[in-house]
Symmetry: C2
Subunit: 229 residues, 2 copies
DNA sequence: CAGTGGTCTAGACCACTGA
DNA sequence: CAGTGGTCTAGACCACTGT
């Protein structure tokens, strides 16, 4: 019966939650714990490393490992493609391209995406439906200087989101959540009224230092984004 | 010059982002990669494990490792204590207890927290200020059956959030974000007007299967929650 | 300077699962 | 059944950082 890193992790976690090792407490070093548990130091190391990632303990060379005074709680959200999000709930997904235009970026966008004001951007407005009802409004801007092939792509059948993930497998992104008010136009698309509260996601994406796309997603009133942690 | 797991990870990541290993591609197995990179299998294993956690590849015994068709993107948010959040921006934090009451839970809360309707809950309404201006409104409910010592705790100087993290070092939680409208009361507290869009966080917390607390946090208009991923 | 965590290695056994 | 990832071990060297 060998001791696994999960065993060690669970035991240390228990010691913390039960207050045996209170916040701020210095935890025994890896060598000592390995002896106590009767396992290799690498096993203890993995357990402790994961607890540190989870924000429960704090590790510093020479100073040793301590139980965090205020554990860092972190919530993880999966950022799915809209279609998958809808379909995973067993609903039917429908997509529609509302408008498409090409031109120079407005000033606020040039500032936000760090674009030359002489550049060209593609702007797409799209709607995503779940079971026939409005679900999400998408206002998307794509930097054509960085991604010229977007100009000839067909966005009438598939959303830009899906096209982008296949064009750029991986990227850096900044995402932000906020609450805004629906104006008449947005309310029209989302099937509500002007003045409705709208849950809004904004996302900027970079790849190899170049700004690729900025998008603003607006959800129907009452939308919630939920996770456990 | 030994090869580190970071080197391996970076190289594999590069192969994916540059399309050398396109989505769906079967990646060589660990033994083979270890030979190619001239390092131990454990080193390759750690690199691949982290890439799998990041949602870029998918690993299955016997089936091998594949590049994910649609990478799972996940955003992490730190959920800080309000005071720390404010202070970390270099602003002065102030706390005020608005009201405190004890009684049976309303039906919606009993349902949400899975409480006996005969139970007792403590309700606190608090305000958090940054540099003297309203920052966050907190509507907090605590299950006194699970946490009787909350009834005698002093919440006039310190917020329930800080008291709770010391009383319960670790817990399961569900958090959800949404957009709501300020009513007259809330607008009064937050220094805005009725009808303002309000970014709202709701959080339920459990410990050892028992529901501990439910809270609803409302932020001043214009508040954003941002992260990189 | 010395103690602690960070990482690598070479080898081993095992658990899972696709064919 | 056999191939792949999952994990453990014992030992080693190193990087960082309090004292």
């Amino acid at each position: 019966m060998t001791v696994t890193y999960r065993d060690v992790k669970a035991d240390i976690l228990a010691k913390i939650t039960q207050g045996i090792w209170p916040p701020g407490e210095l935890v025994p070093n890896e060598t000592e714990l390995a002896e106590n548990y009767g396992c290799a130091r690498a096993t203890v190391n993995r357990a402790m490393r994961e607890l540190a990632e989870a924000g429960l303990i704090e590790r510093r060379r020479k100073a040793g490992t301590r139980v965090r005074i205020a554990p860092i709680r972190q919530a993880k959200f999966n950022i799915p493609i809209v279609r998958r999000e809808v379909e995973s709930r067993g609903e039917t997904y429908r997509y529609a391209l509302v408008s498409r235009s090409v031109g120079p970026p407005p000033d606020w966008l040039a500032a936000r995406m760090d674009l030359a004001s002489a550049g060209k951007v593609l702007r797409l407005i799209c709607m995503h439906y779940a079971n026939g009802a409005p679900y999400q409004h998408e206002d998307r801007w794509i930097n054509l200087d960085a991604l010229p092939q977007a100009e000839t792509a067909d966005f009438t059948q598939t959303g830009p989101n899906e096209w982008l993930v296949s064009a750029i497998p991986f990227s850096d992104a900044e995402i932000s959540f906020s609450a805004t008010l629906a104006d008449d136009t947005l309310a029209g698309f989302l099937g509500g009224n002007a003045g409705d509260p709208v849950f809004t996601i904004e996302r900027s994406t970079w790849w190899e230092g170049a700004s690729i796309t900025y998008t603003r997603l607006s959800f129907t009133p009452g939308h919630r984004m939920t996770t456990r942690y």
